[in-house]
Symmetry: C2
């Protein structure tokens, strides 16, 4: 029923590992929106008892990635256009705040900003590389890394974590739309423009590019919604 579930090493609890594995399978659509799943499935699949599975499932329920129907089972949450718009708004607010914060403090002389620039530039190259083989999941990972680099620069771990939680509700739409409308080149160009705006300390340009960049999902959702009506609600 699900593939790609392998436990890693480390001192994480089984529940934490199960959470990461199941979440990953939801975000990459290996678990289909609307699909019915049971705790016992995950339990046998991961070869652990229901207790840590339940811990993982409750966390995903709080995150609204899983709907629980008491005594009847669980369903992988459908993609909600409303939820996508809500999380998009939150993400845009936070990323715009963050970029303002960076631009205002940007001093080309400081090594930490030179490091940031180099890291972003390097990531841009990876993005271009990844475009070649056209793997949407891989591109999304590079895209996430780019934004994460930016956000991490202001040193606010809570903000990074909130944005990454919001991303959970945007990822599936982005994945579908990348498969349907491959405009990855455009996205990479926007990343480049953002980097330029940062370098020239152009606050207004940076925020407007970022806003437009993050707003694309609102348009894309209409297309994929028609293509995959079963995955959506609202």
């Amino acid at each position: 029923m699900v593939i790609g579930m392998v436990f890693g090493e480390g001192k994480k609890t089984l529940g934490e590992q199960a959470y990461e594995i199941i979440r990953e399978n939801i975000l990459t659509l290996r678990l289909k929106p609307g699909q019915t799943v049971y705790e016992s499935e995950f339990s046998t699949m991961l070869n652990i008892s229901r207790t840590p599975v339940r811990e993982a499932v409750r966390a995903l329920h709080i995150e609204q990635l899983i709907d629980v129907l008491p005594q009847r089972g669980m369903k992988i949450a459908l993609i909600s256009e409303r939820k996508v718009e809500e999380t998009r708004f939150v993400r845009e607010s936070l990323e715009v705040s963050a970029i303002c914060n960076i631009v205002d403090q940007w001093e080309p002389a400081q090594t930490k900003y030179q490091d940031l620039y180099r890291a972003l530039a390097s990531n841009l190259q990876s993005q271009k590389q990844v475009i070649q083989n056209g793997d949407a999941v891989q591109f999304l990972q590079a895209d996430e890394a780019f934004h994460r680099l930016l956000l991490s620069a202001i040193g606010n771990a809570t903000l990074v974590s909130v944005v990454s939680q919001m991303r959970g509700h945007l990822n599936r739409v982005r994945l579908l739309s990348l498969q349907e409308i491959p405009y990855t080149e455009g996205l990479v160009r926007e990343h480049e423009q953002l980097l330029e705006a940062l370098q020239s300390k152009d606050r207004d340009r940076a925020t407007s590019i970022l806003s437009a960049h993050l707003s694309r999902v609102s348009e894309d959702i209409q297309v994929v919604k028609d293509k995959y009506p079963d995955y959506f609600t609202d």
Copy 2:
């Protein structure tokens, strides 16, 4: 060890009820920052088994309100100045975005905005009432209600929920500072000014009042940190 733990009625699971009760006890400082607690304590206290207690505790651990020391117990999270500043930033970003959204769409003719105005004005009266008996917890509840009314107006449930999560890390500082520095009148006046700015559609004034209003905690924390050093880390 803890008081005020009573189960309510409803169709919530024991785990969800336990979560709310324990969280409330943390935010109101009945459970002291740094205090060691055990699953079995909550279990006997609430007269339920460890399983739903554990569910509640894991959620609070994810929220970073409880630190888990494997095989050794748990500690109520100390107040982290860093975490307070991080959550303050996130909250301010989101509330400012929300207020901009409202001001831009504010049309005095619309009944929904008239309702909002009335609700806010009514809440302001409650705030003034509550000031009289000087109960910090009660005032914080009214304050929370005021901000929640504003946020709810833009119809973004995710944003409301994120802000309320952030509030969890600000509440304890606010509670302590209200007990030490009773400037509640000032806070109420800022609420009034914010409402005026809204009414006159003065976007810049609204955002600057709100920013200043939400930034107070950064100053207050220094005072209470000296008064209650045991409650803090960083």
